[in-house]
Symmetry: C2
Subunit: 334 residues, 2 copies
DNA sequence: CTGTTAGCGCGTTCAC
DNA sequence: GTGAACGCGCTAACAG
């Protein structure tokens, strides 16, 4: 037996298809009794509205796209679960678009905006990108951005990376450390990746405020993998005069530092204290002292904002910029 | 300016919409010259076929759903990236469906099958489930299953968990270990989760073949988190007579064991050797000796199978069951 | 309040 | 080979 359509429901309830449609879309102008009859018919037939038809006539896809570069980053995954939770509850589909090459991001966005495959987009990208192009292609497309310091024209959710860097460093200083190093991914914000760079700036500011100097030898930058961070940490840890603590721009980088320390037979935190940033799940397992930003919450928030936009046609002024709180999570490594 | 439709293309190329449609769908019966004209028009207008309309009339969504329980597991993510790579290249969308509650899986599947939102489904689930129900609801829905030992009616991709357990244990035995423990998640396959149970069976078989006995005190089962594994490993490692090696059913469990060893001041692998299973990316960073199953490849394969099915209407007999190879990856922990 | 009608953009017949 | 007509299931605008 064919899957039932709105027509079947209408026949069964003894009404016209228009009425069924109204019930489906929560139109207020349907008599209570009629609504009940229709609802019953829907129930009995196990009717599910056809998404494609809905989209074709109404223009809505009930799908939200999530765009992000390589999504193997633990932080991305945690945000994604948050997004999923909310979209799922609202009966929206989540389509995943990955950005393989950063320089193709704009091109991909263009294609996406044209194809009308999604009602809205959640972009998770800490790199700078040209918002204007999206707006030109699709001026009305709801877009929410997570984890980006450079957004101006869309609602976005972010953290104060600078403040986070200060927090972490202050914490280390309070614990008696005077010689502190930094392991990050980029040394400047030249390429548009800004998160860890801001954290690094906060790190420097904190040291300066405490009258401590930044030892450039103790600061290393490079690839965003644990492996690379491990290689980067080694030279710092084998210096004749080495720092007593290292602040890593991401938890994953901190894991690399920990691995290096272990290889060199250094005890953590006695010989070397290590501090991360993000508080991804593994941080808890590995007992890493870190700065928590609530990743899942950022995802949930992003999804809620998109849904709000989709429902109301706009996002409330006060929800436009959300700055999530940061919190030191003291554990075993610092 | 409105996004161009097939009609615009037809006008511009001076043909009927039927012809454009034929070109779009690669129908052979279009004169070469006409085809060129249409292609040119498409190019010039930047025309993209509307997915919803296509689905509504043709029945295809160009979307593949991926269904899986909580997708924070690293192994799932790695498979997912593999799937994404292939689908993306074929211009298919990937929709993520997460199974929040295992007991609702069947219900979710039913809803999915009814709504026709996807052309096919890739199910990543090591637990037993009722394939028949899917087939009853949607007899023609292409479905490919990854990581499941109990599949009968659908193409699937799996590994020989039993053999993997034997491999790992043999390796440890060859390295001189006679006292080997096991940390897994489930003690039996009663609840339908079979992967680690099979690995455990292989473990026992290997020990038996070597004339070694299984010490039940050294085998612990429980929650699937590193945290839980750490708690589970402690009592084993503090036993008066403790094993010299531990084989963990998953890499993540092995990380828990490593953490416990570290807490107790045990040196790895001298005091205690640790072996994992899966070779997720972190295993490399943490230098974990483990058994590799190529996770990304399993995802790619799954996606290719679905696409094959979608294109040809069937999956070749020889591709029906794929058993991926396993390989010992010797690193620092065993 | 409710039934009816006209598209939404495209694939798929048919005739030509 | 190719163009025109119909229908996919639904929403929105229009009569009643």
């Amino acid at each position: 037996m064919r899957t039932p359509t709105i027509k079947d429901v209408a026949d069964r309830a003894g009404v016209g298809i228009g009425t069924v449609s109204r019930v489906l879309n929560g139109s207020p102008q349907v008599r209570q009794e009629t609504r009940q009859r229709v609802l019953a018919a829907i129930q009995e037939l196990g009717f599910k509205p056809n998404t494609a038809a809905r989209q074709l006539s109404g223009g809505r896809t009930f799908t939200v796209g999530v765009v992000s570069p390589i999504f193997t980053l633990p932080s991305f995954i945690e945000r994604l679960t948050g997004i999923q939770d909310i979209l799922d509850a609202a009966n929206y589909d989540l389509v995943l678009y990955s950005i393989r090459y950063v320089d193709q991001f704009q091109r991909q966005l263009r294609a996406l905006a044209k194809q009308n495959r999604v009602d809205g987009l959640i972009i998770i990208l800490s790199m700078h990108f040209y918002e204007d192009e999206i707006r030109q292609i699709s001026p009305t497309l709801p877009v929410v951005v997570i984890d980006n310091d450079t957004i101006e024209h869309y609602p976005h959710i972010m953290i104060d990376n600078y403040e986070g860097g200060r927090l972490a460093t202050n914490y280390l200083i309070e614990r008696g450390h005077h010689a502190i190093g930094f392991v990050g991914d980029v040394r400047s914000d030249a390429f548009g990746f800004t998160s860890t760079y801001r954290r690094y700036e906060g790190f420097r500011a904190s040291l300066a405020a405490a009258g401590l100097e930044v030892n450039e030898e103790w600061c290393r930058f490079g690839d965003l993998s644990e492996e690379a961070a491990r290689h980067r940490a080694r030279p710092i840890l084998t210096l004749p005069r080495r720092p007593t603590a290292i602040f890593a721009g991401y938890d994953t980088l901190a894991f690399g530092v920990l691995a290096a320390a272990q290889e060199l037979g250094l005890r953590v935190p006695d010989d070397i204290a290590v501090m991360g940033f993000d508080d991804i799940q593994t941080a808890n397992y590995l007992n890493l002292t870190t700065v928590r930003q609530n990743l899942a919450e950022s995802g949930r928030l992003g999804a809620r904002l998109i849904l709000e936009w989709l429902r109301n046609g706009y996002v409330d002024e006060k929800d436009w910029v959300t700055r999530l709180p940061l919190e030191i999570i003291p554990r075993a490594t610092a």
